[in-house]
Symmetry: C3
Subunit: 336 residues, 3 copies
Amino acid sequence: MQVDLRFFDSLGSQPLGRLAELTMSELNGDPAVEIAGIASSQTAGAGALCYVEGPPKQASLVSSQAAACFVSRDGAGRLPKGVIALINARPRWAHGQAAQALFRLKEWTSCEGPEAALHETTRLAPGAVVCRGAVIGAGTVIGPNSVIGPGVQIGQHCRIGANVSIRNALIGNHVSVLSGGRIGESGFGVSDGPDGAEDVPQWGRVILQDHVLIGANSCVDRGALSDTVIGERTKIDNLCQIAHNVVLGRNVLMASFGGISGSVEVGDGTIMGGRVGIADHVVVGAGAKLAASAGIFRDIPAGEAWGGTPGRPLRQFLRETSWLQQQAMKGRSDKS
Amino acid sequence: MQVDLRFFDSLGSQPLGRLAELTMSELNGDPAVEIAGIASSQTAGAGALCYVEGPPKQASLVSSQAAACFVSRDGAGRLPKGVIALINARPRWAHGQAAQALFRLKEWTSCEGPEAALHETTRLAPGAVVCRGAVIGAGTVIGPNSVIGPGVQIGQHCRIGANVSIRNALIGNHVSVLSGGRIGESGFGVSDGPDGAEDVPQWGRVILQDHVLIGANSCVDRGALSDTVIGERTKIDNLCQIAHNVVLGRNVLMASFGGISGSVEVGDGTIMGGRVGIADHVVVGAGAKLAASAGIFRDIPAGEAWGGTPGRPLRQFLRETSWLQQQAMKGRSDKS
Amino acid sequence: MQVDLRFFDSLGSQPLGRLAELTMSELNGDPAVEIAGIASSQTAGAGALCYVEGPPKQASLVSSQAAACFVSRDGAGRLPKGVIALINARPRWAHGQAAQALFRLKEWTSCEGPEAALHETTRLAPGAVVCRGAVIGAGTVIGPNSVIGPGVQIGQHCRIGANVSIRNALIGNHVSVLSGGRIGESGFGVSDGPDGAEDVPQWGRVILQDHVLIGANSCVDRGALSDTVIGERTKIDNLCQIAHNVVLGRNVLMASFGGISGSVEVGDGTIMGGRVGIADHVVVGAGAKLAASAGIFRDIPAGEAWGGTPGRPLRQFLRETSWLQQQAMKGRSDKS
């Protein structure tokens, strides 16, 4: 991953020694090595700084291209050869601190850089605010009192409603965001820092492909160290939540109050009833059908219908529900 | 239904031949017949264009006043006499396409027509945007950075909070919409078009009767081919969702995260705990009590208390819950 | 409780006789007694007007410092000595009516009083509206088209996103409110008035302590007759609802769609998965863990893990789920 400089300012590179000092980490390598990039542990490219948490063996899965990695003392010895260890009891927190010494989110008020580029047929309603560096295509309408953040790219013939905010996002053509939609806000990441709960900075983007619909007051968070992606023609109802790093396929339909936790993948053509929740890192196969109110905590094969909480195959859920009803009724009869 | 020209522009009538061509439909009738109106299949008045989906026998229920109807090949022969068939494998999609050749939603930026009419005692906070054709009554306050769409009618002594958006709506007196409320956005309708999922245009309105309260960040969608109606003194908490065509009675109370799916009817005085969901087309009788977290998938008689997901009479739900707890505990004792 | 005059205007004191007349109550005491304050029944200080509902014996728990109390006929005789009874069949409704004769919420448009006080390093984005009497500290950024209501106090180095609204609130340092957050709106209180459902006015505040995070489109309602308090470093995800009078401790983590009903208390370090709901007046001990989708209807001891709806200890919930699955499967085998 490259931090997208349309959305973040680079603060320049930092020597590892400085980053170790800043994060109170023990450095097992050359303090003069300059770090200019950040990444997740498994996707880290040449020169990037990452972190790894969990059991020590996780450290062996870190990309061998990474320049350095925050890691617990137990895991340090298992890092791939050539990856410098920054030993810290709180690797995720330390990485967030170091990353903030390298990059800084462009504020809603930071309008340095080129003016927004609007096509002559772009229409801005009264009160719409477009920050510098934003690009908006032909025939797109930005509704009243909506806000397009610095560097945001919006394609052609999009409809952005009223009181919408969009930041850290790349948006295709014919996309609709209904009023109150929140695109590109910080994902919910919390680390256990030395002073208590600490916000983990989020460095990714949101990508909405062509013909996507985002309903009123729905939220699509930007990725942490990758992107959140909504595939072509996927349609999301009001008051839904799409967390960081989620990848939804094409033609996915999600009814109201759908909640997709971090790093979930959903295949093309999946249909979700209202109030479906999916736990983090779950993979849902293409064409799955998730019944209203389902709470999904495990992977679902393509094409299957699931329901209930915790989610199970829909037929099983209905059988259990029906069996329970009969038994409880019988139990009552036996007593009376 | 008449499409309300305060909220939509008429593009003039179209001959059936043109609409058949546009939607790639087979026309079983006079191509010169002019169509100027749209409707749902069962309420279509004279001259209106409708559609019907589902089993072929549904076609026999189409209003005999309809001028023409998009219908599957199987259903075409069952249309009432005099209703011209437009044969299409995707009737709902085709109707949406044809309707968009007849009418066009007034954009947030389309401010042609008369200036907004404000009473001398109407107060607009800083940043409030009122589009042309809107009418706002005496003593009503529009909060900062809120948006009142073209043609919206708001009565007297209403309180509209901050960052609210209202469109395609008729609002009575003494109505409150708390900050972030979204009134009149497009209902969630998706058809299966030739290129994949397609938004179904929504032609109805929202009607909020006197003394209604809509909580912060709650959404009330406009109807598809009818109106969404919230009855007098009905009170809706924060973060609720009311879908298209819903009709709520008077003095209905709905706690946070309530979700009412399309075309549901709820009788007067019904009380819903938090996070109650109701599936589409369900009818809830007057004075029902729905326990927190209930997921209702079938009609509920007046006055009954229901709970659980899928919803069942509350006593039955509690009995099942309690019986399951006892049995599972006993099962464990038997093993140990 | 003192009504905070930064957020409400005082209309002066009123004699009890006038308040009895206004609310159609029967007065058992001196009509000339002047009332200038309101409170809840158990916290009422000298001279305050309160109300009590429920079984008659509740009246005996009213603070003996209260000047007067709306009460049902049955409860009137049980009020502490010296507390004057205002007998009314609808005490809560009557109290709301009387309170509105004493105080009035400052409107979003009521900008009398001192100008907002901004530090020289406070930054307001385009379209941000700051009402009079607001105070905003050094280094704080207010995002585009956000609204800071009259009298609101915001500390240093806070980040307020786009299209946020804040009213009736005291906010510490290093607090983040993501875009679309709604702080200080009216809690959901409905009384049964003579004409039907009636909004109960809400007289309290919201207090967000240092380092709190409120996610996008989340809502924190102000208290009714006390304050809603979110403790230091507590982190709340998108689309959550915190109702009136709730007190959350420090370092509480709440994932998306969390819903905390009125007057709930949650201890330090409690962690809630997505879509957790807690019923009103429940007390959750410090360090509890509530599984995703849990619906909690009773108090939870410190440190325990609970899940399911209705909530029960997590191990019990999982045992029941697993037992049901086995039995229903066996039941099927027996038949086939």
